[in-house]
């Protein structure tokens, strides 16, 4: 993967609730990512089919914070 693309990880169904609780948000509130997004497609090659509603964790490098974790909900199309 290209160095400019931050790391993307699929969150396991078991952990989803825990993460949402710690963030204090619902799945629908999270930013979205399309299933057709190139990164999701690439991730599907590793994880198998990713159905809409799953959560993806994105790990970005930040000058001020070290690493910043962002979560996105997969949506269709």
């Amino acid at each position: 993967m290209h160095e400019m693309v931050p790391e993307h990880w699929l969150v396991s169904v078991k952990e989803e609730e825990k993460i949402l609780k710690s963030l204090g948000v619902t799945k629908g509130q999270l930013p979205k990512i399309r299933k057709s997004d190139p990164v999701v497609k690439a991730l599907e090659k590793v994880e198998g089919e990713i159905s809409p509603g799953r959560i993806i964790e994105i790990v970005r490098k930040s000058r001020t914070r070290g690493i910043a974790k962002i979560y996105r909900t997969v949506i269709g199309e």
Partner: protein, 882 residues
């Protein structure tokens, strides 16, 4: 999983009013073109019939019985003698006429094709977007209007032409609105979706008016002038015209007048109805008032900058605000604003009478509204009793009302010193464009504020005006004071440094006070120190029996306790000071030990000392420091005096000779380069053509010449020179500007290149063709002081113009970019947990900025300034920075 989506408007539907509906909603059939009778009462069945609503207080609506503020108004209607075209639907009428058969009223396409189009529209599985639907409708229209012979009834249709604005012709024969209406009536409901109409809410014949709705009187109120004269609204005037012509048309028609007269009147009715809707229809002369002013009809009410949308819905006006010219006042704190007494008497704060403010408000009412010629003393303009009735306070009734005052009354109190107000200068491009100030009521007619506050507002005093808003509730005042006060906006979120600071003469003055630590005679020193707000003086020193203060000691007075800092000033190492030490500013235990205070110490957005004070002592102390600083500067510079003139750029004869030499040498060097180029002696530089190589060499030579002239000028212009003091201290201008005045202006460029455009092979006809020498390409060897020769002047002007155009283009473009960005982000908010959410509570960022750092509290882009903390905690020995 279903991802939830919040509420939103799904669909907006526009429909047409049918004649039946117009009649159904009508409260009165208007038949008289008059408004009021001689006694001033509205005429029955006239345009001001009380069934259409009331505009005069006290009267009741005939339809709903409501009073002025209860009755929403009711429509009336006019029965038109002959149908007319609605100007707003001209395009639609034209397209329906061309795409349908005039005989059978079907769309002129074969049955199978129609079916195909219906399939596409009715394809409910994947719902069509509006754009796709519009595309299909226009496809049908363009297909059908080509057809001549109707596939349904085999009638030979003729081409319909639109003769603007409102006449339709078929092969030169006029189609009357009546005929058009008859044709439209024949169109089947089933075909309408392909024309773009929904048969449930619209029929094409409704685009031809037979009944005319008359808007309620609330929409077109009568204005009564002070003289008692009545003046009708433009819409009413237009309606009078419509009714009058309608009546004449009906009479003529019923009498069986000649066709010609009827047609003329019909056209006239069409004209009045058209201008009633839109008085700026192309091809129609606008209807005018008797005075010659064109009437403002329906479209004009809505359209454009002064229309309902942009003027009344997107932009609203507020009360409790004032606007006037601004001017400077260095004796005000940065947190204050000087408000002219005249404005202070008009601007009021509403206070409710309680046990706690009873006596104070009573005294205020006794003061009355005050008179302009008196010295300002806050009073009261209006009093609202508990039942909401208003009493205007005058000199006469002031005492009486004060005695009658009760708990729960509302008092509109005039502005007094210390009130919190919002102060704003447009364009409001950032949050610092609107800040909270404390009021100080002053004489004269301008708003005044401390010069340091010019920067956040981007204000100057060449005629700028600013707005002031008086806060009306305790919550608003508290919030403004905590969040919006000037001192709370010291650090800009744009770059994390102080946006306010010393400017111009402040820097000059304090530089002169501290450069080489001058001795200031006791009396002068005391006078200057009387400007500032401190309770001590430095220890004077005695030389030859005379007492002096040291400049740096005087400056040290305004520093808060415990300042320990060392940093490089603008003079740096290249100081003109022989000892070379003035550039290092060292403060120990709040004593300025070394260095000249300059832009790097106290200047806006780069003042290191100012930044230090703000971070270490907080905003309040920072504001105090800056207040004292501006006062001290005013004291120093007004006591010493400081001026500059063009003779500050006088250089001795030998310097002039040297400068001329530099100029000539450069020109000769360029000539040599060109000669070498012509003889093929110049090698190509990587990535450049031979011509580019020559150009870059020439440019380098010429810029070296200017630098050299700058050096010579600097050498002859010393620190005893006002302009040099300003340039070196960073107050204004730089050494290059001075060198351009005294020595050589240098190369004038366009888009980073030497001047090259103009005539064939030359820039101006003054040069030989093919001349690419220094002067022919815009090199200016004169100085501003000497003056430029004509060709130089021209090149200088072209270069200057490029700068102006650049600025104009850049500001408009970046302004629009910023506007779009703001509009996209304006309703995002930071929640209590620090998440950035939009109006649907969807997450934009899980933590503000993804690091939760307030940019105005960060340090040069980092969250924490570790070096500073180490230094403060463990002593300066351990400080990481040099």
């Amino acid at each position: 999983m279903k991802v939830e989506i919040s509420k939103g408007i799904e669909e907006l539907k526009f429909a047409l009013l049918s004649p039946e509906e117009v009649r159904r909603m009508s409260a009165v059939k208007v038949i008289t073109p008059d408004t009021y009778d001689d006694d001033g009462y509205p005429i029955e069945k006239g345009l001001m019939d009380p069934s259409m609503g009331v505009i005069e207080p006290g009267l009741k609506c005939k339809t709903c019985g409501g009073k002025v503020d209860q009755c929403p108004g009711h429509f009336g209607h006019i029965e038109l003698a002959m149908p007319v075209v609605h100007i707003g639907f001209i395009k639609e009428i034209y397209s329906i006429l061309s795409s349908t058969c005039s005989n059978c009223g079907r769309i002129k396409l074969p049955e199978d094709k129609l079916k195909e189009y219906f399939e596409r529209i009715k394809d409910t599985a994947n719902k069509l977007s509006d754009i796709e639907y519009d595309d299909i409708v226009s496809e049908v229209e363009s297909d059908a209007s080509e057809v001549v012979i109707c596939p349904h009834c085999h009638f030979e249709n003729q081409k319909v032409a639109l003769d603007k604005p409102t006449t339709f012709r078929e092969e030169g024969k006029k189609l009357t609105p009546k005929e058009i209406r008859e044709r439209f009536e024949k169109i089947q409901n089933d075909d309408l979706p392909l024309i773009g109409l929904d048969p449930k809410v619209a029929r094409p014949e409704w685009m031809i008016l037979t009944v005319f709705p008359v808007p309620p009187v609330n929409v077109r109120p009568t204005i009564t002038l002070e003289t008692g004269e009545r003046s009708e609204d433009d819409l009413t005037h237009k309606l009078v015209d419509v009714i009058r012509i309608n009546q004449r048309l009906r009479e003529n028609r019923d009498q069986g007048s000649p066709q010609l007269i009827i047609e003329d009147l019909w056209d006239l009715l069409q004209y009045h109805v058209t201008t009633y809707f839109d008085n700026q229809t192309p091809g129609t002369p606008p209807a005018r008032h008797r005075s010659g002013r064109s009437l403002k009809t329906l479209v004009q009410r809505l359209k454009g900058k002064e229309g309902r949308f942009r003027s009344n819905l997107s932009g609203k006006r507020v009360n409790f605000s004032a606007r006037t010219v601004i001017s400077p006042e260095p004796f005000l704190s940065i947190n204050q604003v000087g408000v002219p007494a005249k404005a202070a008497r008009e601007l009021t704060v509403t206070e409710t009478v309680t046990e706690h403010n009873f006596e104070r408000l009573k005294e205020l009412i006794k003061n009355g509204p005050g008179k302009e010629e008196e010295i300002y003393r806050p009073g009261v303009n209006y009093v609202y009793r508990a039942d909401g009735s208003r009493i205007k306070i005058s000199e006469k009734n002031a005492g009486e009302v004060a005695e009658k005052m009760e708990l729960g009354w509302q008092i509109e109190r005039q502005m007094e010193d210390g009130d919190i107000v919002l102060f704003n200068r447009q364009p409001s491009l950032h949050r610092m464009s609107m800040m909270a100030h404390e009021v100080k009521v002053l004489p004269y007619r301008t708003f005044r504020f401390n010069l340091a506050v010019c920067a956040p507002y981007n204000a100057d005093f060449d005629g700028d005006e600013m707005n002031l808003h008086v806060l009306q509730s305790q919550e608003a005042r508290a919030e403004a004071e905590i969040l919006m006060k000037v001192q709370e906006n010291f650090l800009s979120p744009r770059f994390g440094g102080p946006i306010m600071g010393a400017i111009h003469d402040h820097i000059t003055a304090l530089f002169m006070l501290t450069y080489r630590n001058p001795l200031i005679p006791l009396e002068a020193g005391l006078h200057i120190m009387s400007y500032i707000n401190v309770d001590r003086t430095p220890e004077p020193i005695e030389i030859d029996g005379k007492k002096y203060f040291k400049g740096r000691d005087m400056f040290s007075l305004i520093l808060p306790e415990g300042v320990n800092i060392e940093f490089k000033g603008k003079l740096g190492d290249k100081s003109l000071d022989p000892s070379g030490t003035e550039g290092t500013i060292r403060i120990e235990d709040s004593k300025l030990l070394n260095g000249a205070i300059d832009e790097n110490a106290i200047g806006q957005s780069k003042g290191v000392l100012l930044d230090y004070v703000l971070r270490k002592y907080g905003n309040a102390e920072g504001a105090k420091f800056l207040d004292n600083l501006t006062r001290l500067a005013a004291g120093v510079i007004s006591f010493n005096g400081f001026s500059t003139g063009i003779d500050d750029e006088d250089v001795p004869g030998e310097a002039k000779a040297q400068l001329r030499e530099v100029g000539n040498e450069a020109v000769q060097k360029v000539e040599k380069l060109i000669e070498n180029y012509k003889n093929g002696l110049i090698g190509m530089e990587p990535g450049k053509t031979l011509e580019d190589t020559l150009e870059s060499m020439v440019m380098k030579t010429l810029s070296q010449a200017r630098e050299k002239s700058s050096e010579i000028a600097s050498h002859y212009l010393g620190m005893d020179n006002s302009t040099v003091i300003m340039a070196r201290s960073g107050a204004r201008a730089n050494m290059m500007n001075l060198a351009q005045m005294a020595g050589i202006i240098g190369q004038q460029s366009i888009r980073g290149q030497r001047q090259h455009r103009g005539y064939t092979n030359r820039t101006l006809p003054h040069f030989k063709k093919g001349d690419i020498g220094a002067y022919a390409r815009g090199f200016v060897s004169s100085s501003y002081k000497e003056g430029l020769n004509p060709t130089e002047y021209f090149f200088h002007a072209t270069g200057g113009r490029e700068g102006l155009v650049d600025i104009a283009v850049r500001t408009s473009r970046s302004g629009y970019m910023q506007r779009r960005l703001i509009n996209a982000l304006e309703d995002l908010k930071v929640s209590e947990e620090g998440k950035v959410l939009d109006t649907e509570d969807s997450v934009i960022q899980l933590e503000y900025g993804e690091d939760g750092t307030d940019p105005s509290r960060s340090f040069e882009g980092d969250s924490v300034d570790v070096d500073y903390l180490v230094k403060e905690i463990f002593g300066k020995k351990y400080g990481g920075k040099k």
